[in-house]
Symmetry: C2
Subunit: 316 residues, 2 copies
């Protein structure tokens, strides 16, 4: 089992989100020693944001000391060229595309930095200190505006050939389903993300600009159409999860992101679909049950995962 | 990279198929030193078949010597309890279910035996000496009566929680597609296996009992309906492969099994579907192209993989 271990050490994890950034110092046992937020909006582009990242790390490094700092990890959205440490494509923030984030940050800090995709970092964080403690293999699916994913195999992030593994939001759940910007039809994220929930609310005449949270509130008040939306969304999720269970036979599949708050309304349909569509799920129910659970670390998952990266690199 | 290495050694691989068994002595460089076939039909059940397996291994062991034998690996159909070495479920051969194949064979041979699922063994074989030489990560899909799969991560077989990983034939390619014995609808293997090809030939009035090979011969003669069948089959395959590419971002996806002989008729539709449905595939076309290829070892893949198992277990 590979885990985040190094005697007497802590590391600093950075989580660059769609709006701003956070950084935390976390020790080898997973205790969060300190956490700070950046002050520069991500929309200002790579140079000021990297300067802000460096400032945040500096503050934590001064506070907790250089001597015991095992390393620095950064989780950022988009596809990462793992070999070069470059952001290849960050969908709605093209200003970052092609930016050599790892080396720029490393130069400013005069220290090695490990760059990672944010969904992958979140999956590693959950494995280290969240719902995935005790397993070495898991899939994390993050349900937000879109759907992202991270896959942990043998305790480590599965990167694939060029770091693009885990695009779980683009699993086809219906070959002629809703069109997706990726060129496909029927992508999971067009049927089960917060955006998809809002779109269904519009189609059902519930409102033109309802957020997924507002649809949840309607469901909680007993609105049948809002409940139907979560049922349809849960079925879509169940199809994709059944695929993943049939492919991986992992012990644990985690759901993270804001939409998970609606668990009570989508989970029954999701689980029914999984049970119907995966004989692996059914045939192991009594002997080695597949766990489908909510992630536990919330918005801190990425921070834990980013901090785990340098600790993990030091093999015991 | 993990590979099959041990100085001066050979190993013996057994491939137990749906009708009978074969065994081969293969040296550490992948050279097949000798191959023999068993004489007992598999339908006779576990006891006589295991006796036959032991006889086959004995013959090879006498011929090539005990001194240099690194170990014995056996690939068998069905789900294997990897911890116990027991065949849990062999679909159309229930007489084997629950049989402690590994220990029974080991007892007869007075030697350690490694038991493995046959599709997993085939994937490892292709990685070692077939189309997968040079990569550490690949997916093998075997198109036969059903569709099986094996996944290689970091040079080793991905087993999952209880050895059931790689059930690629049960990926849902259409949520309301053809019914499957597994309880699901729209399983890949009900749309893209030899059995599915025969069923479509029947639906199109081409014949009541045409084999996939006969449908191929009609397609080769220019029969439009036969060609349409392979187009539809290729599209189904493309949907599942696009899913796998989006999930794994592996450098190589291999297709094995008898149906691959019809490559010229199904591959164009398959590749078009992959290109449309996977932006991972498209966006890496020029920089790190995803290879979709026919497996190279044919019916010997399982023998190579089974022989690789004990060699691989000895780390360099």
């Amino acid at each position: 089992m590979v885990s985040c271990v190094r005697m007497g050490a802590y590391s600093i994890g950075i989580d660059l989100g769609g709006t701003n950034l956070r950084a935390a110092a976390i020790d080898k046992d997973g205790q969060m020693l300190g956490k700070i937020s950046g002050s520069t909006p991500v929309a200002e582009g790579p140079e000021p944001v990297v300067a802000d990242m460096a400032r945040s790390v500096e503050k934590l490094r001064e506070q907790f000391g250089r001597a015991h700092l095992a390393g620095i990890g950064a989780g950022v959205p988009g596809n990462i060229d793992m070999a070069e440490g470059v952001i290849v494509g960050w969908g709605n923030m093209p200003i970052f595309n092609g930016y050599p984030m790892r080396d720029e940050l490393s130069k400013r800090l005069d220290a090695k930095v490990i760059l990672e995709n944010d969904a992958n970092a979140a999956a590693l964080g959950e494995k280290w200190m969240g719902a995935g403690r005790g397993v070495d293999d898991l899939v994390l699916m993050t349900l937000g505006t879109g759907i992202g994913g991270g896959i942990i195999v043998g305790g480590r992030i599965l990167h694939g050939h060029v770091g693009m593994a885990g695009e779980l939001g683009h699993i086809t759940i219906s070959p002629n389903g809703n069109p997706c910007g990726c060129g496909n039809r029927g992508c999971l994220e067009k049927h089960a993300s917060a955006t998809a929930i809002s779109a269904m609310a519009r189609l059902l005449g519930l409102g033109h600009d309802l957020s997924a949270e507002q649809v949840y509130e309607l469901a909680a008040k007993g609105n049948d159409r809002a409940r139907e939306i979560f049922k349809v969304m849960g079925e879509a999720l169940g199809i994709a999860l059944a695929d993943l269970i049939n492919i991986f036979n992992f012990p644990l599949y985690l759901l993270g992101g804001g939409v998970v708050a609606s668990w009570e309304f989508f989970a029954p349909a999701m689980l029914a679909e999984i049970e119907r569509r995966s004989f692996t799920y059914r045939s192991t129910l009594k002997t080695a049950p597949t766990r489908i659970e909510a992630a536990q670390l919330g918005s801190n998952a990425g921070l834990y995962g980013a901090a785990c990266l340098p600790l993990q690199d030091v093999r015991p």
